[in-house]
């Protein structure tokens, strides 16, 4: 079966190369049949990649350990869900996922544009084929996911326990879909530049792809944060880790792109800027894929030392050189059709928002690559920590949220301060009220940045509600519809606009969560014996009793042993029980005794969180199993060749011993307000994005009409 997979990859590479050659030749010679052939070759690449993906996935499901990848990343005991997802937890497998997604996206966009964009599409086909060819070459040359083992082991190593978390398994495909999705607008931007068609056609054709990529990337980032919060055992959701930053940077620049293309569509301005933005987004997406694999920056997420760093750098260099060269050589064509009429216009504010977003990206990039920069300048590798990021990002984030509120209500071309005041009077009043209430009834003033952020959030939310209300009221007076119906129709008819409002509201809610949970968090680390208590933020936490479980841990990750605790949390009349635990996984290390092996593998925190709309209570435990060291070593000596059943009995006895005579355990308790709103806000953003991306009935009608007229044109030219 591995042979089939390898063959698929090899044929796919040849087909992708053919697609490049055929489309370029077709575009230059004007022979449409070659263009069509090139496009269909991409469909073939997609088919071949899907087959290869299927072969590898079935090997994981069958636990076929003759595949090196399966032996490394899976085992017989691994739960089925994690067998499926173990494919992309390995470097080679994740490359296969990347190229499969890329070929599917390419196929979709090329199929949808097969009758339009005749000048641009062939070049875009060549670019997409080129990207696919690069990834296929990487796999065939250096990281073949279909490598086989001459002597397959009886059982695999198993999936890294840290990755056994539902969010972690959905998070990589989401991120990849985001990264990959941005290659579509990139390819069409390059196509438009090569074909000297710098109008808004390529934007209209691929805008939706950019939006979908943006939604996926955003969802991926949110899921990554959730994983960090609930699995890593430190209780935070963002640490400015290089790999986190690598996913945030293309998202920020992609956000800038989604805004500034509106200016090009409406006013024919910012063409150079838009082309540069999408090239930058795609380069950053490649960089994100590369950073995880290169090991050049210290990060807890990185794959181990890798063999494909140089190849990636060469490819990224090529992409940058190609994009920059093309944009510069087409500068005369990219001149604006209009001038900025006034600084008091929506265009100007879009530009400002772009500068803030790109500025944010540059700050994060500087911080992320600082170890390399400082090594180049001073000769020593130094790095900047989260406080540095917080200090620089906070002011930019505040400006960004302010713009989130102002931007949507501005008029194109020019507006007067009086008109602006008419729209902003109510939101400003609401913001002032919020400020007074916050000062009077809460201690929000302890952190002035958070206080400012809360006010801005109130501002944005009022602006959005006011817009929704005004639009709905206007529609009601015209049509006499009921409130909900008018609101639904209004949104349905102007999906981009109202979807955008929803996204803005979601971002505000997200920042509410970030500001509140980062400034007003209470955390305590304590060591307790059963029966002892401690206080944190007015909560009284009591360690009621230890737990020791064999198999069947609460998360369903397949951990053989898990030690934990039952804790009572009380505040006022409220009472609830938390059960954090720690899973222990076995290792195959032959230098250890049979029983030690069961305890000495990876261990992961299974935190327990009491989610609440106003406050989350988070607890993790680190049991001290030092007291079991001696009995474990005795058991190693006595039962060196014990069968599985005997081992199970011994482990059960050890667990019983821990329960009966528990040593003190280390606990971490975190009480953070409004943290759930980060993910609620993220959900609203995704929802808004989907509303904006969903084709409206009018657009569908337009497409049908343009297809029809294209066909009529074809018939006429034939006649």
């Amino acid at each position: 079966m591995a042979g089939v997979g390898s063959a698929c990859l090899f044929i796919a590479l040849l087909t992708a190369l053919y697609a490049i050659a055929a489309s370029v030749y077709g575009a230059r010679s004007g022979r449409r049949e070659w263009v069509t052939s090139g496009r269909r070759a991409i469909y073939c690449v997609a088919g071949l990649c899907v087959i290869a993906f299927g072969v590898l996935e079935s090997a994981f499901l069958r636990s076929d350990f003759s595949f090196a990848l399966v032996a490394e990343g899976s085992s017989i005991e691994t739960p089925t869900f994690y067998k499926v997802t173990a494919l992309w937890a390995t470097q080679d497998g994740s490359l296969l996922l990347w190229v499969t997604l890329l070929s599917l996206f390419s196929t979709t966009v090329l199929f949808l544009t097969r009758r339009s964009l005749r000048d641009i599409a062939p070049w875009a086909t060549a670019v997409l084929g080129g990207v696919a060819a690069f990834f296929l070459l990487l796999m065939i040359g250096w990281e073949n996911p279909f490598d086989t083992l001459a002597t397959p082991p009886a059982d695999g190593v198993g999936l890294n326990p840290l990755l056994r978390h539902p969010a972690m398994m959905i998070h990589p495909p989401m991120l990849y879909t985001g990264y990959v999705g941005f290659s579509v607008p990139f390819a069409f931007a390059i196509g438009a530049l090569v074909a000297r068609r710098p109008g808004a056609d390529w934007i209209r054709a691929t805008r939706r792809f950019a939006l979908i990529a943006w939604i996926f990337l955003g969802t991926g980032i949110m899921l990554g944060a959730l994983w960090s919060y609930t699995e890593l055992g430190w209780g935070g959701y963002w640490a400015w880790d290089p790999v986190e930053n690598a996913s945030l940077m293309p998202w920020l620049v992609g956000t800038a792109f989604l805004h500034s293309i509106m200016v090009q569509e409406k006013r024919g301005m910012l063409k150079v800027w838009n082309a540069s933005l999408i090239c930058a987004t795609f380069t950053l997406a490649l960089l994100g894929t590369f950073l995880v694999r290169s090991g050049i920056l210290d990060s807890i997420h990185a794959f181990g030392a890798s063999t494909i760093g140089v190849q990636f750098l060469v490819f990224i260099g090529l992409v940058i050189a190609l994009s920059a060269g093309l944009i510069i050589s087409r500068l005369p064509l990219l001149r604006s059709e209009a001038k900025l009429d006034s600084l008091l216009s929506r265009e100007a504010f879009f530009l400002l928002n772009n500068l803030v977003l790109v500025g944010l990206c540059l700050v994060i990039m500087w911080g992320t690559f600082f170890p390399l920069i400082s090594e180049a300048i001073t000769g020593t590798k130094a790095s900047v920590g989260p406080p540095w990021f917080d200090r620089l990002v906070t002011p930019l984030a505040l400006v960004l949220v302010l713009l989130t509120g102002i931007g949507p209500v501005l008029a194109w071309r020019r507006f007067t301060p009086a008109a602006l005041w008419r729209v902003l009077a109510v939101p400003v009043a609401a913001t002032a009220t919020a400020l007074v209430l916050l000062l009077a009834f809460t201690d929000a003033a302890d952190s002035w940045t958070s206080l400012l952020m809360f006010c801005l959030v109130a501002f944005v939310l009022t602006v959005v509600s006011q817009e929704l209300w005004r639009g709905t009221a206007a529609r009601r007076t015209m049509t006499g519809e009921s409130w909900p119906r008018a609101l639904a129709r209004l949104t349905g008819r102007n999906r981009r606009r109202y979807g955008g409002y929803l996204v803005h509201a979601g971002i505000a809610v997200l920042f509410l969560g970030v500001a509140a949970s980062s400034a007003f968090v209470d955390q305590r680390d304590v060591r307790l014996s059963p029966g002892e208590s401690f206080d944190v933020n007015g909560y009284r936490v009591t360690y009621r009793e230890p737990t020791a479980k064999l198999g069947g841990d609460s998360g369903g990750t397949g951990a053989p042993i898990s030690f934990g605790a039952v804790l009572d949390v009380r505040k006022g009349g409220k009472h609830y029980v938390l059960r954090p635990s720690r899973n222990y996984y076995s290792t195959a290390d032959p230098s250890l005794g049979t029983i030690s092996r069961l305890f000495e593998g990876e261990a992961t925190s299974e935190v327990d969180v009491r989610w609440g709309l106003t406050r989350n209570f988070w607890m993790a435990i680190r049991p001290d199993i030092g007291s079991l060291d001696k009995p474990i070593r005795e058991a190693d000596a006595k039962f060196a060749n014990a069968s599985g059943d005997v081992q199970a009995l011994i482990v059960a006895a050890l667990a019983e011993r821990y329960r009966r005579d528990p040593p003190p355990a280390a606990f971490r308790a975190i009480s953070s307000p409004f943290v759930v709103w980060i993910w609620i806000g993220g959900g609203i953003v995704v929802l808004g994005g989907l509303v904006a991306a969903w084709p409206s009935p009018e657009a569908r009608l337009r497409r049908v009409r343009s297809l029809y007229s294209a066909r009529v044109g074809q018939e006429l030219s034939r006649a």
Binding site: G73, L162, L163, I300, G304, R527, A666
Partner: protein, 130 residues
């Protein structure tokens, strides 16, 4: 003001803002950064970000303190570390770690919660051979 002059003013304002931001970026990053150093390189009197591997069999729990030794990635020079706070899940013998702190009386006293353990890859070939 005539349009071309207005444009020039805008350009100057934008460029000034960019230069200011860049200066702030460079200044704050160099002043706030901590040096990453190997155990064989650190000296008392300033703070470092210590990187290296945990020496096999050196991990001891001492009340709330965690004590272990970190050695050069490619050498044998090592330094004892005293640490309090959260221990990342993947922390154990032989793992690569990063921890911030200062050398005091021959012991590297780490800042609370500053320990980062590099994930030993997602179990790739390279990891097992090393």
């Amino acid at each position: 003001m005539d349009p071309s002059r207005k444009r020039k003013v805008r350009l100057v304002v934008a460029l000034t803002a960019a230069v200011l931001l860049a200066t702030a970026l460079i200044y704050t990053s160099f002043s706030a950064s901590t040096e990453a150093s190997k155990p064989s390189e650190i000296k008392p009197g300033r703070s470092y970000e210590l990187t290296g591997k945990v020496v096999n069999g050196s991990i001891r729990h001492d009340g709330d303190d965690l004590r272990f030794r970190v050695r050069d990635r490619d050498g044998t020079a090592s330094v004892p570390v005293s640490y309090t706070g959260v221990v990342p899940d993947p922390f154990r013998d032989g793992r690569e770690v990063i921890v911030s702190g200062e050398l005091e009386h021959g012991t590297f006293v780490a800042e609370r919660d500053s320990l980062v353990t590099k994930c030993p890859s997602k179990f790739t070939k390279d990891e097992q051979s090393s």
